[in-house]
Amino acid sequence: GQQVMQIPQYQHVQEGEDFTTYCNSSTTLSNIQWYKQRPGGHPVFLIQLVKSGEVKKQKRLTFQFGEAKKNSSLHITATQTTDVGTYFCVLERDYGGSQGNLIFGKGTKLSVKP
């Protein structure tokens, strides 16, 4: 079935350093979503990418969807302690019109040392 591989599993950075997490799929994706889950919290939607080669920015966060729509990345510039959490790339399962049927990667757990 559909699945997504996400690397690295863990990343420890010094505050101010950059951070990147990568997501790869063996199949072409219709879209990809990214969520952030703070420690003890619930997943929060960050963005959805739909177009081939799409690049979207949210302040210090840059999201990219590969040209072949099989991979994606999230880059954070100059990390802050508020960036701590687990970042998930998420596929929408192809279920013939089903909504909300998501496949989560294992996530990248980011820790930031002040």
């Binding site: 997943p43 399962r93 049927n101 496949i103």
Partner: protein
């Protein structure tokens, strides 16, 4: 505006017991999905309901069941609890607009099975 609400927040049960978890979606959202998140893992899809009909089911045993009510709230039932059912149970609602499908997650119910 109220977000997705779930009750109870925490629950402790013993093996063999039954549990009912409740979810109220954001007003106007007709799609509700349930996810199980074991510590250190990404959420795993259990069920998705739209307009009171089951639209998707994940790889979970028949001990897991759910339903959606006319007001779009939902219940997740788990029978014959096992130790391995200990997890954070997340509910998510969405209001799909075309290909855009942001999922709004509730705070979750943390279930502990002893």
């Amino acid at each position: 505006d109220a977000g997705v609400t779930q009750s109870p927040t925490h629950l402790i049960k013993t093996r063999g017991q039954h549990v009912t978890l409740r979810c109220s979606p954001i007003s106007g959202h007709k799609s509700v999905s349930w996810y199980q998140q074991v510590l250190g893992q990404g959420p795993q899809f259990i069920f998705q309901y739209y307009e009171k009909e089951e639209r998707g089911r994940g790889n979970f045993p028949d001990r897991f069941s759910a339903r959606q009510f006319p007001n779009y709230s939902s219940e997740l039932n788990v029978n014959a609890l096992l130790l391995g059912d200990s997890a954070l149970y997340l509910c998510a609602s969405s209001l799909r607009k075309g290909s855009y499908n942001e999922q709004f997650f509730g705070p979750g119910t943390r279930l502990t099975v002893l």
